[in-house]
């Protein structure tokens, strides 16, 4: 998936992957890859700045977590993030349905 294609959808993908769970960056990337059947194999250099941006927007919160002696920064949705996810999901459904209709017509 090219960066251009990804633009505009990255936030939705990150928010959706963090729905109902908290994950650190490494696990998040893995979940995105597995959850998309390998379609979204996003590099760390894209994910971390995006996570920081979403946190600054109040859509995510984060904390340090220690697991087996390793410290990791884990992220989770805030209430505002959960609401944003619902909104963006609706917008995405509408958008993809529109594209489907046009493409099928063609």
């Amino acid at each position: 998936v090219s960066r251009e294609e990804l633009k505009g959808h990255l936030d939705l993908l990150l928010l959706a992957t963090l729905r109902d769970r908290e994950l650190h960056g490494y696990a998040l990337i893995e979940e995105l890859r597995k959850g998309s059947d390998g379609t979204f194999e996003l590099p760390e250099g894209t994910i971390y700045p995006a996570l920081h941006r979403l946190e600054r927007s109040g859509l995510l919160s984060s904390r340090w977590s220690s697991e087996s002696g390793r410290r990791r920064r884990v992220y989770q949705l805030t209430r505002k993030g959960a609401a944003a996810l619902d909104e963006r999901k609706q917008a995405w459904k509408q958008f993809s349905r529109g594209v489907d209709l046009v493409v099928q017509e063609g």
Partner: protein, 199 residues
């Protein structure tokens, strides 16, 4: 390139506030260490982050010029608050936090949570007054204390070192988070928040 070399380069190129820089470096170091332990191939993990310059630019571009100014003003204000707190506590209580300790306290406050408490209540406003009193050492006649005692949202920005890591200070044994909002400043007692959930 080793992890240390990558982080040193990244540190050199990151143009964000000191707390944000420290957090970014720690987070990436943790990730790279994880990757090295799992894959045993550090060069691949580093490659996935991209060059230190490009990565730094991605983080830096997220902070607008205005926010960067606030970040530096905030860092200076936090340092000033630390000195004032140290003086106040020296007069009143033992173990005054040094500025460096203040920075550590800020990083460790709420165990890194950024969502300690986000509701302004009368109770917290009352505590905010206590905070101002502690900063001023009981002398509200000082010009800077008068300003602190009449904090507006705009002035409150001075306490926020950067938009992603809210300012936190330790006063009287409690760690406080200070965050500017459109409708005023929020003072949150993180020690309460961490024991009471997300607030």
């Amino acid at each position: 390139m080793t992890i240390e070399e990558y982080l040193a380069e990244l540190r050199r190129h990151l143009k964000v506030g000191p707390l944000a820089k420290r957090r970014i470096l720690r987070e990436i170091e943790a990730h790279l260490s994880d990757a090295a332990a799992r894959d045993g191939d550090i060069s691949r993990a580093i490659a996935r982050f991209g060059s230190p310059e490009a990565l730094a630019l991605r983080f830096t571009n997220q902070t607008s010029g205005r926010l960067r100014v606030f970040a530096w003003i905030g860092a200076a204000a936090l340092l000033t608050a630390g000195v004032a707190t140290t003086l106040a506590l020296t007069l009143g209580k033992s173990d005054p936090p040094a500025p460096a300790a203040l920075v550590r306290a800020a990083e460790n406050a709420c165990d890194g949570r950024s969502d300690c408490v986000d509701i302004l209540t009368q109770r917290l406003v009352a505590k905010a007054k206590d905070f101002v009193r502690a900063i001023c050492g009981g002398d509200n006649a000082k010009p800077q204390c008068l300003r602190s005692a009449k904090l507006t949202a705009r002035q409150a920005v001075a306490f926020v070192p950067c938009s992603e890591i809210p300012g936190m200070v330790q006063v009287g044994g409690s760690t406080w988070r200070l965050q500017d909002k459109k409708d005023g400043i929020i003072f949150s007692d993180c020690s309460e928040a961490s024991s009471g959930g997300n607030g």
